[in-house]
Symmetry: C2
Subunit: 208 residues, 2 copies
DNA sequence: GAAAAAGATTGAATGAATTCATTTTTCAAG
DNA sequence: CTTGAAAAATGAATTCATTCAATCTTTTTC
């Protein structure tokens, strides 16, 4: 028994996510009607609600997949980071940012972040928050690695600096998502400018 | 002519805000129905929509008043801050945080922040964003003042550090609002711990 | 101070998300 | 194979924010 039921379920789930993502990107979150998503996914409205608690849940599920990918790409960077502090931070953060608009529009990000703030107790919001925490941990880990390898002075509190870097890059991403006219390049430049003085200050020696 | 119309308008506006705030605090934002707010304020639903574009607008208006008060209190602190960097930052930030729950519940904050992210183009969201920018400017100004008075080393970029401090305290406030079990004390302690190492690093001399 | 214009108010109608009682499909035991 | 129970699917009904054409109030004009 391969489980007909399980197979159908997985298939329907995939169809719902695909339909929703496509309509969200196309028409925007608000304009995409649940009825249309259901129709496109070839399920009834009721079924859709058996799979997701509400409209926002579908979006947050998509975003969670995206963040998961970013985390994996981040792993590769922190495994072997550039030994210049500023460059290492910039490499990791630009990677986050560059990935962000591959599947999702700014509006989708805004909506997803808004939902995860407003209804933090729904299962998918919790998942999103947890992924955020893992991103933060990744930045902390980068600072620790650089410290262990001698690029950052030994006396500083790696966790504190990592958290501050992360909260800053996260807040700046929110601002980026809010302002339609702001480009990825501008975001990266501004964050780099904010981090540079701190990076310089905690560097043990200038890279050659 | 004292303007009968103007007087009636101001009165209705006040009644709407009072009714809404009371119901939002009492039952939560989602459970408070527009019809109930209108009834409590003794206006029709249609009138309510002449005063505010939508349900969220009413909430954001309340929050904007709150932030305005915080800004004013902040002015007094940055006019004459403690000359120890860590203490000065802590004083200003604790002031922000302590004020935050006087009129508003965590849920109200969450909803207001979510709205300002999701619909950044509505007039009141813009107003909220602008107030946020002024808070940020205030933190930058504090850093500049401390630098001018010799408490912070002259070579650092006051704007960059101020922005990073602000983005951190703001992000931490979002987290605080998301987690019902997190106390104001815990929030303040955690943020202080994040800022302490940076403050130490940019201090010119330890305060006597 | 009467008539016209401008400004406000109203609540029933609209439209979309969400619910839930009913029906249909899968599964497993005999 | 049947069959009864469990799981899924369904779509009509409900709920609530928002709109708008009609009505009422204030202000202005002459």
């Amino acid at each position: 028994m391969a489980g007909l039921r399980a197979k159908q379920k997985a298939d329907k789930n995939r169809r719902i996510l695909e339909a929703a993502t496509s309509l969200f990107r196309d028409q925007g979150y608000d304009s995409a009607r649940i009825e249309d998503i259901a129709e496109m996914a070839e399920v009834s409205v009721g079924t859709l609600y058996n799979y997701y608690q509400n409209k926002g849940d579908i979006l947050v599920a998509t975003v969670a997949m995206e963040v998961t990918e970013v985390l994996e790409a981040g792993e590769r960077i922190i495994a072997n980071p550039p030994l210049d502090v500023e460059e290492a931070l910039r490499t990791l953060i630009d990677q986050y940012y560059d990935h962000s608009l591959v599947y999702l529009s700014k509006e989708m990000w805004r909506t997803a972040m808004a939902i995860s703030i407003q209804q933090p107790e729904t299962p998918l919001s919790k998942r999103y928050t947890e992924l955020d925490e893992r991103l933060c941990a990744q930045v902390v880990q980068l600072v620790e690695t650089l410290q262990r390898r001698g690029a950052i002075i030994a006396s500083i509190d790696a966790r504190a600096f990592g958290e501050v870097f992360f909260n800053n890059l996260n807040m700046m991403f929110i601002e980026f998502a809010k302002v339609d006219g702001m480009s990825l390049e501008e975001l990266k430049t501004r964050v780099a400018a904010q981090h540079r003085p701190i990076a310089t200050m905690i560097s043990r020696v200038k890279a050659v």
